[in-house]
Symmetry: C2
Subunit: 291 residues, 2 copies
Amino acid sequence: MSANGKAVHEAQDRALPVCQPERLSESMRYSVLAGGKRVRPVLAIAACELVGRSAAAATPVACAVEMVHTMSLIHDDMPCMDDDTLRRGRQANHVAFGEYTALLSGDALLALAFEHLARGCADLRVVPAERALRAVAKLGNAAGAGGVAAGQVADKASEGKPVSLAMLEFIHLHKTSRLNSAAAVCGAIVGGGTDGQIESVLRYARSVGLLFQVVDDVLDVTRTSEQLGKTAGKDQAADKATYPKLLGVEQAQAYMTELLAMAEAELQGFDDAERAAPLQHLARFIAYRQN
Amino acid sequence: MSANGKAVHEAQDRALPVCQPERLSESMRYSVLAGGKRVRPVLAIAACELVGRSAAAATPVACAVEMVHTMSLIHDDMPCMDDDTLRRGRQANHVAFGEYTALLSGDALLALAFEHLARGCADLRVVPAERALRAVAKLGNAAGAGGVAAGQVADKASEGKPVSLAMLEFIHLHKTSRLNSAAAVCGAIVGGGTDGQIESVLRYARSVGLLFQVVDDVLDVTRTSEQLGKTAGKDQAADKATYPKLLGVEQAQAYMTELLAMAEAELQGFDDAERAAPLQHLARFIAYRQN
């Protein structure tokens, strides 16, 4: 794990003390501290550094976005959603802790995300309250009806039906990309970026967010459960709309290349190549990842 | 509906535009605009007025707290929780819209609560960002592992077991009272109350919050489903810990009287009797309500 990844992990560990009822704390800790790729924290921190601030200013945002993401995974795995039993190489939260605890630990993580963001920025004193409040609004939008929840509903409603490319883009834009974008944009906001810088970061993040989903879909059909650490071939079994299903695997892979180029182009506008390097590496990491 | 109640209803209507996917918007609107007692919005606005500001400054807080409360009801009614089919006199959200939509509209409402609070206070310009951010943190804590979610987990985990009075108080403190207190405290915060005033409001709200739950428990055994607009006798059927079960109906009613007196005593500290009147009426309304 990188130094920033370690800082985020430790901050999340501190943000999740074991308290009554332990069943709830343990369920929250189980999923948040399980690891994962931590793409969103990296995005938040790299965007904050890109606009000239240190990683520490973005730690509350990075933790908050990851809590929202973890909530969405816990709820996504539940029986009334994807009914998945495996996540990040181990039992899904609802299998390990039972259904009602999984439901409520997702709710608690979503609430904690905003509490942590607000309190964390206030404690830091280097992030003005106006900026922190703007980040709260952006994250709220991306987590709810303007993002994750809208994407999940559209995704479920599309199962077993013929799905247009427009609907597929709607689903992935909302379900995945908006939260990735919010991570980067919030990082740039708390980092004190100008409006123009925040716009560039947003466009970069949109390309990377979509790239992330196309790669995910492709891996689901080209890799095994063991290689992925989660159930492979699940999308196909549920007859879900995916890029390989709609475009074929080869076309989907060509789309990946195109999206990577678009993301990299957005970084050209920043003079400081050294500061832009982490976001460039991240885009490539996402494009070439194997699980 | 009072003028303040109408303002909150209209603000929530505006905060919930119908957008894609309509299924999600409609599910959110169905539960938020269903009415209900709106105790928390009244608390938030009355506390804001108590410390000397107009109701308008507390409208974003009032809406946000009611969204959090509505989310908790939607999730509480789900099959993996209380499996209730009736709410506020009509079908529970998961019955009307299906289980996954209910799950996700709860998530979306929770996220919207924070977005609305942050954006609403920023738009008003009369609430300094520091105060709005403090309200976000308080509401996040009350909605999650420091409040509602913790109370719901403890409640479910207690079903069918002998429950101590200490556990019963833990459940109600977290499941209900913390959110009521957050409504009042956040109202006093955005209203610009002093630390001492905020403390008084908190103690008042704690008594009223507990009062609310004891009354709820008593009504569940003394009234019919038709009178309540929700399934009566449900707690008993699920063998849930309640005040009438633990203390008997008469003792529970005596406790109601005691809590009302404690709440009223907290308001004596405020010089301006006129400003304190709404909170005094609210406590009495809660104590004497019939559904």
